[in-house]
């Protein structure tokens, strides 16, 4: 088990390095002159050339890449040619609100998937199984952007129950501590602002979670069915365990372990899917940041955003892979 964990750990840096390399060279494909963008619209040719030298864009590509790697290892992700701020600072600004969104979306995902999977597995083949599955599947095949627009239209414009876009009421001042509005308002002890900011994040989170609920419910359902058919469940039933007890105490923990891998991946995918959701709901976050960065050919910002998303995905998978054998004693033994 330790050997397996060690191997997984050892494999992670090469994967991350490949992501860096790929992104760096891919950004070179984006047309447009970085030095000109950085120097500004009215810059003279001399100013553009000066900027080119200042940014190191005059040296060959492989040297630029080497310099970039060197700075990366020192924790410098470069300076955004658009905001003139270190990319790291920019990212630190937007990341918390994306994490806030993903966390809430994951909570919604689990809150719906777990009961739905248990229900459909317990009553498999019956009408309630079919109904719930169709309902969940419908959620999974609705286009994210369309769902976002429809929810905005329904709850925001027509029913006026929830705010349409943004992160908090204009004029409301939330002292910034973490960057996630809900956490900040709680930390500052202002409960009404907390509730308010929660209303802003609920529609985006719901929109984001919908597609993931379908996948999670499906996976969990089929692995629960596998467990329910196994001998030890029959023994439990023979000993008089109630249906609910069989489901919650026996089937769920056993089925949840393989599902954990999916959950880990889903968190990573959710972070990547924030692009659509954040642009629809006008939220600041890594998704909307990445999108503007690409459109403005802000190379360092693009690389940084992709890098953060890629690393997050890789690390989440690593953590889950390391976690699973700890939780599941059977795996610990089989891997020696």
């Amino acid at each position: 088990m330790i050997r397996l964990a060690f191997r997984r750990l050892l494999m992670t840096p090469p994967v991350i390095f490949s992501i860096v390399t790929l992104v760096f060279f891919m950004t070179q494909l984006i047309p447009g002159d970085q030095a000109r963008i950085a120097a500004g619209r009215d810059a003279t040719i001399e100013q553009v050339e000066a900027m080119r030298i200042k940014l190191g864009l005059d040296s060959p590509l492989y040297i630029q890449f080497g310099q970039y790697l060197d700075r990366l290892l020192h924790g410098d992700l470069g300076t955004s040619v658009f905001t003139y701020r270190p990319v790291l600072t920019d990212l630190a600004d937007v990341l918390p609100s994306s994490i806030e969104l993903v966390c809430l979306a994951m909570i919604i995902n689990l809150a719906i998937s777990l009961p739905a999977a248990m229900l459909t597995a317990a009553y498999r083949g019956r009408r309630i199984d079919r109904t719930v599955r169709i309902f969940v599947l419908f959620g999974g095949t609705v286009p994210v952007f369309w769902l976002g627009l429809t929810l905005q239209n329904l709850f925001g414009a027509r029913l006026q129950m929830l705010p349409i876009a943004g992160q908090h009421k204009s004029g409301e001042i939330v002292p910034r501590r973490t960057g996630a509005t809900t956490v900040d308002s709680l930390l500052s002890g202002d409960f009404s602002i907390f509730l308010d900011s929660l209303t802003y994040v609920i529609l985006p989170a719901l929109t984001l979670s919908c597609a993931f609920i379908a996948v999670l419910t499906r996976t969990l359902r089929s692995s629960m069915i596998g467990v329910l058919d196994s001998d030890f469940v029959m023994v439990a039933r023979a000993k008089g365990a109630s249906n609910l007890r069989v489901l919650v105490r026996h089937a769920l923990p056993n089925a949840a372990i393989p599902t954990l891998t999916i959950v880990g991946m889903q968190v990573g995918w959710m972070l990547g899917s924030t692009i659509l959701v954040e642009s629809i709901f006008g939220r600041q976050g890594i998704g909307s940041y990445a999108m503007t960065a690409v459109l403005q050919k802000d190379i360092f910002a693009v690389i940084a955003a992709v890098l953060i998303l890629g690393i997050a995905f890789t690390l989440l998978n690593l953590i889950v892979d390391l976690l699973v054998p700890i939780i599941d004693p059977r795996l610990r033994r089989s891997h020696g």
Partner: protein, 283 residues
Amino acid sequence: MLDKSKISSQWGRLSWFEKGCFVGVISVIVLAVVGPWIAPHDPYFVDLDKSLLPPSSEHWFGTDVDGRDILSRLLFGARSTLLAPLGVIVFAASVGTVIGTIAALNPGVVDELIMRLCDVGLAFPALVLSIGLASALGPSLRSAIIALALTWWPGYARLVRSLVLEVTHKEFIESAKVLGVPRRKIVFRHILPNALNAMYVQTTIDVSAVILVISGLSFIGAGAQPPSSEWGAMVTSGRDYMLTGWWTVVVPGIAISLTAMLFNLSGDALRVLNDPTLKQSRG
């Protein structure tokens, strides 16, 4: 390969609902093929007098802001909406099959290298890559297809690898080896046909996933461009008129959703056809 006679003999085992899904998928494909001939109006004809008309007998699904008939636009757009995912999946599945098979048949360094390469591919945020590629090649349906194909194959490579590995350890492969069947024949005649059976199910389900992603890319402007009537682009062009003409957004959205759902459910039904044990355990 899915055997045709097998399908016809097992058709009866499907529930009316599953049959309905297959019929639905086929009708969508037929509509996409004949759409341009049966469309009641010209999908690109701008008539500002008819801007944002609600659904009526003349315009079943209403008109958009430029007075174009939404039903006709849907029928015309069905082709690109369906062909784009097809392109992505054919590419991803063929590349994935080749790479996954190579990995499975060469355990050790090759396998490890390929699988780590897949990790990189899977860790790549597909949407960011697509936007990047769209701005590099110019936003079009084609760049969206290329970007997605590039991010989609690692999933197939992994799937095929595990399927091939599973088959390789079956007894009939062992006995073929013992009988002295050449390796190449074992791979192409025995391992691949058996392993790929399960892949067809995945491709059907993936059509629905790719339809959703491509329409999302069109929505943020990295895919099909106006005046194209690709369904995602239709939602985008209607989004500003949501309050005065909900049908401009709701109709193409439901079309995408319904198509995706039909493909998904058919994939499930195919899985049942493929795996008799599943049908029993569902009972």
